[in-house]
Symmetry: C2
Subunit: 202 residues, 2 copies
């Protein structure tokens, strides 16, 4: 059975919990409070030298880090990841877009806002992060005006990865009212079979 080291409010962790639920895969859940340094202990750093959750431990005890690498691992040979070479690369394009252009803006502003509000140093970066976050939403909007899901007509791990922080973007103050295709897509994702919520405890 898999073990998932995770932190409940984490959107990166939620990606994995959602996919595990939709794949009907049982797992052991181990909460690591990132706010109390629980991913920086000597013991945890032996499992992931980068000191981050989510971390998936396999039956053979090997560990896999990076939420989107874990998604790709779990989705292989399932309907959540098409086999065609270009389509698979297109899924990866969205996953790298998520970690570079979306998460560092939308997730980070949400984290600042929900953990006591931005500090003075963070405030200096806030306008740039809001603008970059809205740019990322515009890239998604353009695609979702053309297709129901990010890579076409089927629900894949690209949707799971982008859904994780887009559906809680309002917690960071992002207003999605000018992104109607993104808003419809959020509802479409929520209505997928075996959908779970970010707040659902294992």
């Amino acid at each position: 059975m898999y073990t998932l080291y995770d932190f409940l409010p984490s959107g990166n962790g939620y990606k994995i919990r959602l996919l595990l639920s939709q794949l009907d895969l049982p797992y052991r859940y181990v909460e690591k409070d990132i706010l109390n340094g629980e991913t920086q202990t000597e013991e945890f750093l032996k499992l992931n030298a980068n000191g981050r959750i989510p971390l998936l431990q396999l039956e053979n005890e090997e560990c896999l880090a990076e939420s989107n690498a874990i998604l790709m691992y779990l989705a292989e040979n399932t309907p959540f990841l098409p086999e065609d070479r270009l389509t698979k690369a297109r899924v990866l394009q969205w996953l790298f877009f998520e970690q570079y252009s979306h998460e560092p803006n939308i997730a980070v502003v949400r984290f600042w806002t929900t953990h006591g509000g931005p500090t003075v140093a963070q405030k200096a970066q806030l306008d740039a992060k809001l603008a970059a976050g809205y740019s990322a939403l515009s890239v998604m909007e353009k695609q979702l005006q053309k297709t129901d899901f990010l890579i076409g007509s089927s629900y894949t791990v690209a949707d799971i990865a982008l859904y994780a922080y887009t559906h809680v973007a309002h917690e960071g103050g992002f207003d999605l009212s000018e992104y109607p295709a993104v808003s419809s897509w959020l509802q479409r994702i929520k209505s997928q079979p075996k959908h779970t919520l970010i707040t659902d405890e294992k």
Copy 2:
């Protein structure tokens, strides 16, 4: 034949140029000067809504963005990407690590430094970026003390992705003298067959 839209000083672009060289794949090179807004034109945004290089255009005219997604696409079914499911996920773990924990620190500080030095706003972020960059180098050092290449004994696209900005980290002021395993690995990468330099014009 592939067309690569790229900008010569870009480490993200260099990843693709290096792999294309090592795969012996011919391509047409189109320079887009990111400093002059050439990736923000209406024409370019039709090719990549996210307005970034590198961008690979396939023979069928479809375009693929995100340097590490392009690496995975080109490397499929070649010795640069192992077929084993867990090893492939491990390559992806390094690629996502690169885009989230390495590039935004090491590449960004290099860009600031080589383009007129950090501005006042950038200076406020410099210490945090230097610290995060050194953390990323430490994660690499730990792995490279154990194995010759990032995922074991063979050279893969994980090495290409991390080499791109690590080998020019000194241009951003990073001192690699306390990272001997990283330094040896840089030499090992440089001695691979058909290696090209970031400054090599097509």
